[in-house]
């Protein structure tokens, strides 16, 4: 078992005719992902990376019976592409695109909340179930199959942690890069819920970073709802307060949250060991397995 994706997931690629879209569609197919179509308006009838391209997501989904989509559409057009994907009732939409305007994403997630679709991202590396399927841009060869679920806000930091795990022979059920944007589809809690419900996931590695309160909220969820053990890493312990957001943002986010300390404290209070280094999170995971 795994979460979100497996070898049977039928995947379409929105924006497959673009440079990134083509490159990573090929990469996904090489990894073994069941990519069944692309969708790009005005490009229907073409074939890219060996799969047919349709003008609309609806047609691609209908004709190829797809259940997931990976979005490489440029930021100016990405929100529209996400609305289009949400309108087809896919199980999973992975938005790789970086730089989508925040207000666009607020509208997308407003709509998302009325659907049953899982949206991962945007600005995320994607989702991978090792040896079965990857949806996104993750470097497949560092992943290995095993009992650990992984969820992370950061791309390359995820790779670092996965590398540490795989090098010790600790494989992953599924790894979910949720993305670091202010507004994202799948939160830590959403991902933790999926892993908690997954029988094969015996432990969860969670990589957070400073900013927002998602980790603090996840800590509460872990304490009250989870049996599966969790170990964490939080990046940004030594980051200076740095260039602050304006007042309004600071008022809303409230004081005393969003720092590495508040996140680490919240997780420790929830019984979650937090590694000081990327190696230590792997230590903690090995401890609980």
């Amino acid at each position: 078992m795994s979460v979100l994706v497996d070898a049977d997931t039928r995947v379409i690629v929105q924006g497959i005719t673009g440079g990134e879209g083509t490159f990573h569609a090929k990469g996904m197919i090489e990894y073994g992902t069941n990519v069944v179509a692309g969708a790009v308006p005005g490009n229907g009838g073409q074939e890219v990376a060996g799969v047919p391209v349709y003008d609309t997501v609806h047609e691609a989904v209908r004709r190829e019976d797809a259940d997931a989509s990976v979005v490489f559409v440029p930021p100016a057009l990405a929100a529209d592409a996400l609305f289009e994907a949400l309108d087809t009732s896919l199980d999973l939409v992975v938005a790789v695109t970086e730089g989508i305007p925040t207000q666009d994403m607020a509208k997308v997630t407003r709509r998302l909340s009325e659907t049953e679709t899982h949206l991962v991202g945007p600005n995320c590396p994607g989702v991978i179930t090792p040896d079965e399927a990857k949806l996104g841009i993750l470097p497949g060869d560092i992943f290995s199959s095993g009992p650990v679920g992984l969820v992370s806000r950061s791309g390359t930091l995820t790779y670092q942690v996965v590398d540490n795990l795989s090098n010790r022979g600790v494989g992953q059920t599924t790894a979910i890069g949720i993305g670091g944007d202010p507004i994202i589809g799948t939160s830590f809690i959403d991902a933790l819920e999926l892993f908690e419900a997954d029988e094969e996931t015996e432990a969860v590695a969670m990589c957070g970073e400073i900013g927002g309160e998602d980790e603090e909220q996840a800590a509460k969820y872990i304490a009250s709802e989870m049996d599966t053990p969790v170990a964490a890493f939080i990046a940004g312990r030594t980051a200076p307060p740095g260039k602050r957001m304006g007042h309004a943002g600071a008022i809303v986010s409230g004081s005393g949250t969003g720092t590495a300390k508040s996140k680490i404290d919240a997780l420790n209070n929830a019984g979650v060991p937090v590694g000081d280094t990327p190696e230590e999170i792997a230590d903690h995971i090995e401890d609980v397995l």
Binding site: T102, R110, S154, G155, T156, M245, A248, I251, S253
Partner: protein, 380 residues
């Protein structure tokens, strides 16, 4: 992207929000002419992207030409928290009976916009938020519908603002929200919104920050952008398009991906070193970008040791190695030691390409950081 006060006020005024009469001045003479034109008293305000301008001496109230001359002379050319002041806004000083706070931003936790009103305006609103959060009325807005008129009214009444002025203040709040949407703002604020004895309202300060990711569809606002840096390195980072923050240590750090770079900084600290900077070259970095990053770190005279940490996903190790070789090709011997750690996509190919006479290659993150910290200590 931040707008200056004078820019934000122009945007607010165009949308129908009342603002005091004002002129922008770049010289003392212009400032005096503006003051005489507007009529005294006037306020002189430094136009720099710095919070707490008042406390730092960047804002002065003047009651006649002599005072204005003196104030403009002292503020123009001053250094305000590292920023050079080359413009002031000369503005009619409004006689007020009350000061309110209005703000619109994205509530990241809710994923929805929020409109805020407080009767405790004119002061540091963050302090109000911490000490008496109930003094700030918040109204979450459904981004699909935008702000409903009743919501603007409700926020105003909830903030304890009643009577005849409630209608005008709600109207300003609704306009501020619409502006926030139409401008793709991350934040739009009026602090204070002054209430006059006559029952009028006026935005005495204006904050407007625009979502950088949306500038492509905000050409008029994008044109207002004025690069302002406290030093040459930040300017360079801006030109190269790097996410860069200068820090106080001596280990220069280059990496890809904010999380990994932050984790690298943390590890430097963990092993007893002190990072000189945060520098994220981003995903898919090509050789030229890598060379630019090295150029930047070498240009920082505080740096005694460089750590290059790349985990390839989209970024390919061989591309990175070529960039490093290219950047170092001008040197027979490096001015400061460079440790490189490559992992992920094409890492092995990259490591084979590297000119190991010049750089030290490590395979693990921990070893690379320890080596870089040692290098920095050896030089310090």
């Amino acid at each position: 992207m931040k707008l200056h006060e004078y820019q934000a006020k122009a945007v607010f005024s165009d949308a129908g929000i009342p603002t005091p009469d004002s002129r922008l001045a770049t010289t003392v003479d212009e400032a005096v002419a503006a003051g005489n034109d507007i009529g005294y008293p006037v306020v002189v305000k430094a136009q720099v992207h710095v919070g707490g301008r008042g406390k730092a001496g960047g804002i002065e109230v003047t009651t006649d030409e002599a005072e204005l001359h003196e104030a403009a002379d002292s503020i123009l050319g001053m250094d305000l928290k590292g920023y050079h002041v080359d413009r002031v806004l000369v503005e009619a000083a409004v006689d007020f009976v009350d000061e309110l706070y209005l703000g619109v931003t994205m509530d990241r936790n809710e994923g929805d916009p929020v409109a805020m009103v407080s009767s405790e305006g004119g002061v540091d609103i963050e302090t109000v938020a911490e000490e008496t959060p109930a003094a700030i009325a918040r109204e979450g807005v459904d981004p699909a519908f935008g702000i409903h008129p009743y919501q603007a009214r409700k926020a105003v009444y909830d903030a304890g603002i009643g009577g005849d002025v409630a209608r005008d203040v709600s109207s300003v709040l609704a306009t501020l929200y619409d502006l926030w949407v139409d401008s793709d703002a991350s934040e739009a604020e009026i602090n204070p919104l002054m209430l006059t004895e006559e029952g009028d309202v006026a935005a005495a300060d204006a904050v407007m920050n625009i979502d950088d990711d949306a500038l492509f569809r905000q050409p008029d606002l994008a044109e207002m952008e004025e690069a302002s840096y406290t030093d040459d390195l930040e300017r360079k980072a801006g030109e190269y398009g790097f996410d860069y923050v200068r820090l106080s240590g001596n280990v220069g750090i280059i990496g890809n991906g904010a999380g990994l770079v932050m984790a690298t900084l943390d590890l430097v600290d963990h092993y007893g070193g002190a990072p000189a900077n945060f520098l994220d070259i981003g995903g898919g970095a090509k050789a030229e970008r890598v060379a630019n990053a090295l150029d930047m770190v070498f240009a920082d005279e505080n740096v005694d040791s460089v750590l290059f940490n790349i985990f390839g996903g989209i970024t390919r190790g061989d591309e990175v190695a070529r960039g490093i070789n290219e950047a170092l090709s001008q040197f027979d011997e490096l001015p400061i030691p460079v440790v490189v750690r490559l992992a992920g996509t094409n890492a092995d190919e990259g490591m084979e390409l590297l000119t190991t006479e010049l750089v030290h290659v490590e395979r693990t993150l921990e070893n690379a950081v320890q080596r870089a910290v040692d290098n920095a200590e050896g030089k310090a």
